[in-house]
């Protein structure tokens, strides 16, 4: 099932896993995580988020940010903080 993302000004777009992984990867690199580890973390977070989105046809970009940050928290507290509070865009 495709999940639709409702953005801040009510515009919508399809959920893009690659885009999410890119932003997680960037957050990990920003806290000096080695590139290989950042890639693995991004994949793990994307997998967990995909499971969360399984039964959700539509969520907001804010939901994505909060939940991805919560999943990322388990692997890297610093990266999660950066991802949640800084403009690494999804």
């Amino acid at each position: 099932m495709h999940t639709t993302i409702v953005k801040r000004h009510k515009t919508t777009e399809q959920y893009d896993e690659i885009k999410l992984m890119r932003s997680i990867y960037a957050a990990c690199l920003a806290v000096r995580t080695p590139a290989g580890e950042a890639e693995i973390t991004a994949k793990r977070v994307a997998k967990e988020l995909k499971a969360w989105l399984q039964k959700k046809p539509e969520v907001t970009s804010h939901d994505i940010r909060i939940h991805a940050a919560a999943f990322l928290q388990k692997y890297s507290t610093h990266a999660a903080y950066i991802y949640k509070h800084h403009g690494i865009v999804h």
């Binding site: 409702v6 039964k55 046809p57 539509e58 907001t60 804010h62």
Partner: protein, 458 residues
Amino acid sequence: MAKQTYDYDLIVLGSGGGGSVAALIAAGAGKRVAIVEPGEMGGECPNYGCVPTKSLLHAAEIYDAAKHAQQFGIRSGTLTYNYPSLKAWKDMAVYRTGTGEGKRLYEAEGIKVLEGEAHFISDHEVTVNRRHISAESFIIATGTHSSIPPIEGLEKAGYITFKEAVNLTRPPKSLFIVGAGSVGCEFAELFSVFGSKVHLADITPRILPKEDEEVSELVRDTFENERGMEILTNAKVLRVAKEGLAKRVYFQQGAIEKSVKVDEVLVATGKLANVDIGLENAGVEYTPRGIQTNEFMQTTARNIYAAGDVVGPYNYTHTAIYQSRIAANNILHKQKVAADYRAVPRVVFLSPEVASVGLSEDECIKRDMPIKKAIAPVAIIGRANTSNVERGFVKVIADRHGVLVGASIVSPRAGEMIHELTLAIQMRLQAADVANTIHAFPTWSEAVRIACSKVAKM
């Protein structure tokens, strides 16, 4: 400035006791109302909770009474049961609650029913199956789901919760129940009556840990000596492993690790609130235990109210209905009503029934509250003689001025008897007021009068 227009005046998330009552009240007041329900109409209570368990327990009570009827001169041939027929009886009881009518009941009242998961997009808008609907006010009554403890091997070996337990087509030959609260105890009673060997385990030192100690002791004694159960208190379940078609449960009591082989494992370790509905987008604060509300059932978002199990502090249909009525009133009227939990009756449907209201003795001690308490055994009253009942008691607790603050009853029909004391606590009556009220002879409620009379004399 022009007033913002919305699709509905009120959208209610959940059609259980916490949601449906408010929806009907608001619709009756001429408001445009919608209910969003992702599961069965009516929610947990009529489909998986109170109604199916009580209908099965009623059948169990009759079966058990028939087994022991010889003492009253009643003889029968072979006494058996047919569990699929019992399940059919339970299904009929569930159907008769109106859940079988589905959404037609609500639509007849002018309420729009939307089937699907609701997810907040903002404080005035939810998405349901990608359809955006807005409302001036919301009531969140999304209920709870079973909290499954992280026990090694449990997922792999398999387990059931109350949802599956009410739909079994035969009782398991042996059953390990994790959690000896009210749900665990009711299923322990049900399946033990129908012949299952029940092992009832809890991590706390006693079963029914929220009740007074005397209640726990009497229920434990009944379970062990009359129902043949194994009661495992202070027991921590370590792991579960599949063993052929059966399951082996490993648990620790004190420093000793033990194990037992059973047909089925029932997990009854509490509930968690259904809060994964985009509450962050609406500014509603919550914890995994529930949504935070003030005494008016209003959440941290001014136009969003919450009621029922998703709020707590009690997981009962009657408290959900009470909160739903309060939420509806506070949405519809300027004169706000606050929730008052001083006299919430609680019933565990065992045989004999267990009922309590108000403060327990432990709670009084925690509050450093000087109390007067008295216990009247039901064995001393006329009705116990005519029914040949020896077990049970009424315990009442009053403050130092004799005003009733709490009560516990273990007795046949305790669930009915408790309401006299509920009213007394709600109206801040003294124990003497109840003691001076005429109680019919021979009724179980005479024990209430005797217990109150003892406190009044202190």
